[in-house]
Amino acid sequence: MEQFDLALIDWSRAQFALTAMYHWIFVPLTLGLSFIVAIMMTIYVKTGDELWKKITKFWMTLFGINFAIGVATGIILEFEFGTNWSNYSWFVGDIFGAPLAIEGIMAFFLESTFIAILFFGWGRVKPGFHLLSAWLVAIGSNLSALWILVANAWMQNPVGMQFNPDTARNEMLNFWDVLFSPTAINKFLHTISSGYVLSAVFVVGVSAWFLIKKRNVIFAKRSMVIGAVFGLLSSFYLILTGDESAREVFRTQPMKFAAMEGLYDGETNAPLVVIGLMKQLPDPQNPNLERFAFKLEIPNLLSYMAALNPNAFVPGIRDLIHGNEEHGLMSYYEKIEKGKIAIQALSEYKTALEAKDQATADENLKLFKANYAYFGYGYYDDPHSLIPHVPLTFYSFHLMVGLGMHFLILFIVILVLIFRKKIEKVRWVLYVALWTIPLAYIASQAGWIVAELGRQPWVVQDLMPTLSAVSNIDKGAVMTTFWIFAITFTVLLIAEIKIMVSQIVSQSKNEGGH
């Protein structure tokens, strides 16, 4: 048996997490700001008001800066697939390749073509076509996100495929099952709506800074109205899609769901922990240990949110490990056994084929297929290795939800104050709006931590853990590139912030906006 290098896996994971999280700093603002710019341009085209043109151009510039700095940062993830995660790349086959190829074509034709018309087209193309370009840039950016999220959703809930034991690849059986899986739809809608909220917070926050400085007041107020209305509507949508996403996680990734709630022992009429402070890491060997130093709960709500039934049973970590016959839960111990049978059957299938023993090969193939759903479990002996980092998942989830509520309230307060014509007088709200910008990024990153860390150790849910996905390469090379990425991305981020701040300051000093 080959011994896997834990340090190699950890460095490979750290590198992927680093690049994905840096990439995700740029993406959500592109997703939402593109629509906000399109809305602003629509108002300009409809009204002919020069101030709206100025507003559109300003936010378009910030959109352009973010787009330019962020563009192609995702390509690094594809490099990593081929180098660090070659087993995974091969295993997922065309299921990952097809959506990524479509994404590339979409990004190229829609975004690249129409972005040029959007930026270069002022006074050079007809206003209607210019406006159409703005909307197509927004739609194109969001469609690009669709395909990568479909690929990601397949990893969380692999459907529409069949594993070919001769090629070691998963082959797509039904593209539409992959595209329209509930996991993919929920992931896409929740992710893009989170980008919309982040962008709205960004617009409201920057506008608040203008008002704090008492510069370009009308310009700032108009921007703020668009940002806050867009943000409010997106927030409601975010809550709806988040609710549905959580139910989907409950159905397909119950361990992640239990970790998100810090639920160790399953129960009917499960309460929802609104705020909680974990005392220590949950210890599966010590079930009687109280895990929360403090918690505020709402009775029955978790059961209701998970299954739309306040009496529903929500399995905890221990139920998943040890199984629960009453509620029809197979234990991880049993899944590990089935996984080992699948791996052994695959091995014997291969040996039988080499020996040209078709009967034995067929027998093992049948056994393999019957147990393939648990294939990944076979790499483990201890089921406790299949528990994600509970406190990090729990806190990330609660931070994301809490901040989401903060954004919703902020948008409402901002709109009320604007319509009562008091927004400039309540300066603390302006400061809160300004300082909410980094909080939106924290919430967005926390969402990814929940999604990706909460599903550990799986790369492909139940089928492929990180340890079998990683390439057998030199750990030193991974460490070197980790630091190259860390430095490169940090420089890019500093450049983005610097250029954006200089543009914002420059616009605020341009009094033509009054």
Binding site: E2, T83, L492, Q503
Partner: protein, 108 residues
């Protein structure tokens, strides 16, 4: 009819000289409001982009960043640090399949 070079001059002088109108091209691609209508659509697109790039202010700085970034990614990272593991080490898909199967069966 005026020559292409004349139409360039007109364009850069920002004149609005009435030019003969190539109906077919403008019917299909009529959104571009350039004066140099006798040029092919490819010329128009070329000059649309060229002039767009020339007029950029903050965009020039951004393009510089994009080029540096792409250079680091493709000329350094991809070339020296990110070879495709299976493509580099194996020459056929069969060998790659066998290797991955071996990894799936024996990795522990």
């Amino acid at each position: 009819m005026i020559s292409i070079s004349e139409s360039f001059s007109n364009f850069f002088a920002k004149k609005t000289t009435a030019l003969s109108f190539n109906y077919t091209i403008n019917h299909i691609f009529g959104y571009l409001k350039f004066n140099y209508c006798q040029m092919t659509i490819f010329h128009r697109i070329f000059y649309f982009y060229r002039d767009g790039f020339r007029r950029m202010t903050v965009g020039k700085q951004l393009w510089l960043i994009i080029f540096i970034k792409l250079f680091i990614m493709f000329a350094i990272l991809k070339l020296f640090f990110f070879p495709n593991f299976l493509q580099t080490n194996f020459s056929t898909d069969e060998e790659r399949s066998d290797y991955v199967l071996e990894q799936l069966i024996n990795k522990k």
